[in-house]
């Protein structure tokens, strides 16, 4: 029996009829079918219950006639039974299914970045002006030797070095697969990474053949549980390989790219038939232990003649420090930790909102543990999952990260407005979609410029902050927690973060 939906709209679409001249641009721009034209009345109206608040029509309305604003507080205010719970229950009562969502956790969980303050030099040590003096952000990722032996006569390093990656700032683009994001978004990031001198990450969907040669030096190729698109050629056209064990937005579960999104191009990149579901199993079925992880790490090194660093990415979970130690012992050259705010193209809401821990705490714990065990030099640490600005990057480095992954921030640079509807595949900004009409809204050249600009802007800001601290190389900030102070944190939180309280 047809059930009347009890859901209320989430947004109000306000059209200023003085300004609107029925040009119908909004109708074309909205992939969710909100706007429609009534011929009889010669006016454009909207079905606001369909609106997801992506703001596409607002930006593109040539007359500035549109406003999309949150629907006024729906139900009687209640901090416990808040709107989000009521809404979800109604959705499930109407469908009986798992609630699917996307992006990163939107819940009001404590944001540790916002409880950490940075230091600056005053009187006792001079600050440095980055406009006049060189500032070094260049970063090397990979295993470092226990000691360096130097041939003093010829001034050469005698120690055999492990393969390392060189990037111009400690920021990389996080794994986002072609499939989750459009070809144009994928390519935008690759181009920006290449131009800037950093790396982008294929995610688990393989690497389009036409991009391999051009971008091989700035690509981290992922090997995930589904092994989609993973063959020796793919592995060898890369700067590094990342084994994806988990991701912050959905720790412990696999992925599921529905058949509708497996278009001809995606099918050839993932090497699966067109239109079939791409199921990524929850675990790698050849990894049930640290020993097994070691086996895959070395299988990948074998497959690439020991020429590339191997990274292992996990979601930040409760025992993250012990797991990280195991990963390093298993042979990972780089470990990537994705906090619970990490984004995704599709995840059950329950996983996104309730599983995992903040990356700030995970990072501090991992760095501490690896130092205590004397193995910190064996790997580089990349953290991701909700890095929003250059200050977050600086704080992450001071907490012990070698570099950060940015995913959501990079997509916002391309046009994303965090509407959290990537899983519908109808992204109005041409990012999380495989619909050719929508993806052509993003021109890779323009996208690359935006993403590149973001990297440039953050680098400049990081240099400013470093200068203020009297530091001239990012290397000197790494793990330098003296430059951090906590505010509004409890004793145990300060202890885990390994920082003092403000004023101490």
């Amino acid at each position: 029996m047809a059930m009347k939906s009890h859901l209320l709209p989430e947004f109000i679409v306000e059209r200023d009829n003085e300004r609107c001249d029925s040009c119908k641009v909004c109708i074309k721009q909205c992939p969710f079918g909100v706007h429609y034209y009534d011929e009889e009345k010669d006016r454009v109206y909207s079905r606001e219950e369909l609106c997801v608040g992506c703001q596409r029509c607002v930006v593109y309305c040539p007359k500035n006639a549109l406003k999309v604003i949150p629907y006024p507080k729906h139900y009687r205010p209640n901090d416990y039974w808040n709107e989000s719970y009521i809404r979800d229950i109604k959705k499930q009562a109407e469908s009986g299914g798992i609630i699917l969502t996307s992006c990163g956790s939107a819940r009001r969980t404590k944001i540790y970045w916002d409880h950490i303050l940075l230091n600056a030099s005053q009187v006792t040590n001079p600050s440095i002006d980055p406009l006049r003096e060189p500032m070094e952000l260049r970063t090397f990722l990979g295993r470092k030797p226990d000691a360096l032996e130097i041939d003093l006569e010829n001034m050469e390093i005698k120690t055999e070095l492990h393969p390392n990656l060189m990037i111009e700032a400690p920021i990389l683009f996080a794994g986002m697969s072609y499939g989750a994001i459009s070809y144009n978004a994928f390519k935008s990031l690759a181009m920006a990474a290449k131009k800037f001198g950093t790396l982008f990450n294929t995610g688990e969907g393989g690497m389009p053949k036409d991009m391999r040669e051009e971008f091989k030096d700035c690509t981290i190729v992922q090997c995930a549980s589904g092994r989609f698109g993973v063959d020796p050629e793919y592995l060898n056209y890369s700067a590094a390989i990342e084994i994806k064990i988990g991701q912050g937005a959905k720790p412990g579960i696999g992925g599921h790219l529905p058949g509708e999104k497996v278009t001809a191009e995606i099918s050839s990149t993932r090497m699966i038939p067109e239109g079939t579901d791409a199921l990524s199993p929850a675990p790698h079925h050849d990894i049930y232990s640290i020993e097994d992880l070691s086996m895959l790490i070395y299988a990948l090194k074998e497959a690439t003649n020991y020429e590339k660093p191997v990274c292992v990415k996990i979601a930040a979970v409760h025992n993250v420090a012990a797991i990280a130690s195991g990963m390093v012992r298993a042979g990972a050259d780089i470990i990537a930790i994705d906090g619970f705010r990490g984004g995704t193209g599709a995840t059950p809401k329950i996983m996104r909102e309730h599983v995992g821990i903040p990356v700030e705490l995970a990072l501090a714990a991992v760095d501490q543990r690896l130092r205590e065990e004397g193995i910190r030099n064996k790997c580089s640490v990349i953290v991701g999952g909700g890095i929003r600005c250059a200050a977050d990057v600086v704080k992450a480095i001071a907490l012990g990260a070698d570099a950060v992954y940015i995913g959501t921030a990079a997509l916002i640079a391309l046009g994303c407005t965090m509407c959290q509807h990537c899983h519908t595949g109808k992204c109005a900004w041409g990012i999380c979609t495989q619909d050719p009409e929508l993806s052509k809204r993003l021109n890779p050249k323009v996208g690359a410029e935006r993403a590149y600009n973001l990297l440039r802007a953050w680098s400049l800001e990081i240099k400013d902050v470093l200068g203020g601290m009297g530091i001239n190389a990012i290397e000197s900030l790494r793990g330098n927690r003296d430059h951090l102070r906590g505010i509004g944190l409890e004793e145990w939180e300060l202890k885990v973060l390994g920082i003092k309280g403000a004023g101490e």
């Binding site: 079918g33 798992i98 063959d231 020796p232 050629e233 079939t276 299988a299 193995i375």
Partner: protein, 283 residues
């Protein structure tokens, strides 16, 4: 300073120090694997192929892993004969070579293999043919758990796994393409042991000869009648099987094998997990 023991890289000798383990005769290289680490053996294999070896015979193999993995030379095809017991991930990521193992193999035979052929004259361990995307694997006797898990196919690449004996649980789990043939020759009239056969399967075909009960099968597979074409396919694979193992399998004739009942398992749906999510229902 804490020394971190590295199970793979510690005590690896330089090529010059292990060169005496190789013997070249025309296009054939012979390697004595006695005392070689995983990496050393694979270093030597790579050098042999670089020097133009087309056939490599490795003697005294004892647990060395990844044989064939570091031989990504597009266009080149090498034959490798392994005597002894190769270690895990034999032929992982392999792309076109042929490996014959004169003995048993361990876990991960043909893991994520792309093309080529592996023949094991004995039994093999767990996760045989995991995520395999092309080529063929023949195992003479039994295999372990999670065989052919997430095997997939793509265009002209349709992987084939033939197992002469039986398998343990989770055969063909998550399978998305390719063919598995389980002959059950080691069963002696008992039924197959495996449970959860084809759980989550959403592509490909499993052929099973010998008894298996409905409860041993995953919810996502269905039994369908063998058709002419299936029999033809199975028969040609059985012929290859008998040819590859003729020296060690004497008791079986083609007619005898083909005379028994086969069942064919295919996925019930290409989208086994399509209906558990709430896509926001209004659109």
């Amino acid at each position: 300073m804490v020394r971190l023991r590295d199970p793979f890289m510690d005590c690896v000798r330089r090529l010059d120090d292990i060169a005496s383990s190789v013997d070249f005769e025309g296009n054939t290289a012979k390697i004595d694997a006695t005392g070689l680490t995983h990496k050393e053996l694979n270093d030597l294999l790579r050098v042999c192929v670089e020097k133009g070896a087309e056939k490599i015979i490795i003697k005294n193999v004892c647990g060395q892993r990844y044989i064939g993995t570091r031989l990504h030379f597009p266009g080149k095809k090498v034959e490798i004969d392994v005597f002894g017991i190769p270690g895990n991930d034999l032929g992982m990521f392999m792309n076109g070579h042929r490996i014959v193992v004169h003995g048993n193999a361990q876990d991960g035979v043909g893991n994520t293999m792309n093309d080529g052929e592996i023949v094991v004259k004995g039994r093999a361990g767990d996760v045989v043919a995991m995520s395999m995307r092309g080529g063929r694997i023949f195992i003479r006797d039994d295999v372990g758990y999670r065989t052919a898990i997430h095997m997939k196919e793509y265009r002209e690449r349709v992987p084939v796994l033939v197992v002469g004996g039986s398998s343990q649980d989770f055969l063909g789990e998550y399978m998305a393409g390719g063919s598995v043939l389980l002959l059950g020759l080691t069963l002696k009239n008992q039924k197959h042991k495996a449970n959860y056969v084809g759980t989550g399967m959403h592509g490909g075909t499993i052929y099973i000869r010998g008894k298996i009960e409905q409860y041993q099968l995953g919810k996502e597979v269905g039994v369908v009648e063998m058709e002419e074409e299936d029999y033809r396919k199975v028969e040609s694979l059985v012929k290859d099987y008998l040819r590859y193992f003729k020296d060690s399998i004497k008791n079986f004739e083609l007619d005898e094998i083909m005379g028994e009942r086969f069942i064919k398992l295919v996925p019930v749906s290409k989208r086994p997990y399509g209906r558990i999510y709430t896509y926001y229902i209004r659109y």
